[in-house]
Amino acid sequence: MAMLEIRDLEVNYGAINAIKKISFDVNEGEVIALIGANGAGKTTTLHTITGLHKARAGSVMFMGKDIIKLPPHKIVQMGMAHVPEGRRIFQQLSVYKNLTLGAFTRKDKKGVEESLARVYERFPRLEERKRQIAGTLSGGEQQMLAMGRALMSDPKIILMDEPSMGLSPLLVEEVFRIIRDIKAGGTTVLLVEQNAKKALEIADRAYVLETGRITLRGNAKELMNDDSVKKAYLGE
C-alpha cells in the first residue's frame, strides 16, 4: 500500500473541470515529481490533497485512510505538511512565531524543541533572524522559512508547490539540496515544479500533468530521456 493514493480525482472550479480523473501513488520514502505547464492543475491537485479545496469525485487515501472529506487541520495532524505556492509565510509575524505555528498540532514540547533546533541547524539564517518580522526577509529566506515551518510539524510527507519559483540560480540549487536532505532524513516528498529538469534530477518517479490529466508517468530518469518530455518541458 502506498503512503498516498490518489484515485480518479476530479476537481472543479464552478463549472470548470480543472482536474479530470487523475490517479497516482506516492510511496513512503520517495520523492515524486509532478510536472506540467502553468495552469495544468498542479496547485489544484495539492490543494485538494490537503483539503483546502474540495474534490468533486474520487478518493485520496493517506496511510490507509480516506481523507477526502477531512478538513485541512485534521489532515495536517495526520502528518502531512504543505509548502504552498508563493510560500505564504505569515508576513506580519516573527520568524520564530512562523516556525512555532508550523508545530501547531504537536503536543510533545520536547520534540518541538528538537525540531526547532534541527531547523535552525539546517537554516542558520533563520536562527540569526528569528526575532525579525518575516515580511522583511528576502525571497530566498522566505522560502527557507516556508520549508522550515513545514518541517516543524515533523511530517511524514511534505507537499511542495514550486519551491524554486522566483529564486536566483544559486538559491534554486540550495532549495534542491534541501529537498535531497529531507528525503535522506526519511521524509516523503511530493514535489510540484515548473523547473522540470531539476525536479526530474532528484525525483524517483514523476507524473506529467497536462490540462488536468496525467499524460505520462514513470521513472524520473526514463522520463528525462523521453522525447516528448524533452521537447515540452526540458527545452531540448
Binding site: H73, R88, I89, L93, L101
Partner: protein, 292 residues
C-alpha cells in the same frame, strides 16, 4: 482641574468604546466581516444583569458572571447559526444578515422588556476617589479604567504568548496558510466571537453603571461609536481599537465640555473623516491582502 476631570471621564467613556471596538476589530480581522449585531449583544448583556438582580435577586457578582456567560454563548451561537453558513458568500449578504440579527435582538428585547428605559441597578459599589480638592473621580470611572487596562494587558499577552492567540493572528493574515499549519478556522472564529462578546458584556456592565439605564436601544449608539473607534484606530488592529476607542471618548467628552454637547457627535465624526482622509487605513491600520 476641570479639564483633568473631563479628560478622566473621557478616558473612562473611551475605555468602554475600546472594549466594544475590540469585538468589532477582532471579528473583522479574523472572520473578515462586520458584525453589526455586536452593539445589541451589549444590550442583551445589560438586560441579563438587570434581570438577574431585579427579578431573580442575585448578588451583583452572580449577575455579572451570568451576563458574561450569556453574551459569550450568544456571540458564538450567532456566528454558528447566522454567519458560518455564509462563510463564502458576498460581503454584502453577510452585512445584511448582520443587520438582520441586530434587529432580531432588539425586537426580542422589545417584546420581553418593552421599549421604555428602566433604571439599571447598582452593581459596582466602589467609593469615589478625591484625588485633590475639586478633583473627584467616581468609583465607576475608576473601575472602568482599571478593568479596561487589565483586559487590554491580558488580551495582549493572550495574543502574544498562547497557541490560540497565534492561531488567531495566523487566520487573520492568511486563512489558507493557517489551515495548513493545522489551525481549525471554525474553532478560531468561534473563539474570536466568544472573546469579543465577553468583552461586550463587560462593556455593558461599565456602560450601564456609568449611565444607569437600560432599554432595547442601549447598545445601538455605543455600538456605532465603537465601530467608528475601530475604523479610527485601523480596523483589524487590536492596539488600534484600544487607541481609537480612548481617543474617541476623550474627543467626545472634551467637545461636550468646551464646544457644544449637541455638536459633540458631529465633531467626533468630523475627526474620523479627517483621519481617514489623511490615513485611509486608520491610525494603526494596514492594508490587508485577501487570499484564498
Amino acid at each position: 482641574m476641570n479639564f483633568l476631570s473631563y479628560l478622566i471621564s473621557g478616558i473612562s467613556l473611551g475605555s468602554v468604546y475600546a472594549l466594544i471596538a475590540l469585538g468589532y476589530t477582532m471579528v473583522y480581522g479574523i472572520a473578515k466581516m462586520l458584525n453589526f449585531a455586536h452593539g445589541d449583544v451589549i444590550m442583551i448583556g445589560g438586560f441579563v444583569m438587570f434581570t438577574a438582580v431585579s427579578s431573580a435577586g442575585t448578588s451583583p457578582l452572580v449577575a455579572i458572571v451570568c451576563g458574561i456567560i450569556v453574551c459569550t454563548v450568544l456571540g458564538v451561537v450567532i456566528e454558528k447559526v447566522a454567519y458560518k453558513p455564509l462563510r463564502n458568500a458576498t460581503p454584502l449578504a453577510v452585512l445584511i444578515t448582520a443587520i438582520g440579527v441586530s434587529y432580531l435582538l432588539q425586537n426580542a428585547a422589545l417584546l420581553i422588556f418593552g421599549s421604555a428605559a428602566q433604571s439599571f441597578p447598582v452593581l459596582i459599589e466602589v467609593p469615589d476617589w478625591e484625588i485633590t480638592e475639586g478633583l473627584t473621580v467616581t468609583g465607576v470611572t475608576l473601575v472602568t479604567i482599571c478593568v479596561t487596562i487589565v483586559i487590554m494587558i491580558a488580551l495582549m499577552l493572550f495574543m502574544r504568548y498562547t497557541k490560540p492567540g497565534a492561531a488567531m493572528q495566523a487566520v487573520a493574515e492568511d486563512r489558507g496558510a493557517a489551515q495548513l499549519m493545522g489551525v481549525s478556522v471554525n474553532s478560531t472564529i468561534s473563539l474570536t466571537f466568544a472573546i469579543g462578546s465577553a468583552l461586550a458584556a463587560v462593556a455593558s456592565l461599565l456602560l450601564c453603571s456609568a449611565y444607569p439605564q437600560i432599554s432595547p436601544y442601549t447598545g445601538a449608539m455605543p455600538g456605532i461609536k465603537a465601530f467608528v473607534a475601530a475604523v479610527f484606530g485601523g480596523i483589524g488592529s487590536i492596539p488600534g481599537a484600544m487607541i481609537g476607542g480612548i481617543l474617541l471618548g476623550v474627543i467626545e467628552n472634551l467637545s461636550k465640555a468646551y464646544i457644544s454637547s449637541q455638536l459633540s457627535d458631529a465633531i467626533v465624526f468630523g475627526v474620523l473623516i479627517l483621519v481617514l482622509l489623511i490615513k485611509p487605513t486608520g491610525i494603526l491600520g494596514r492594508k490587508m491582502a485577501e487570499k484564498v
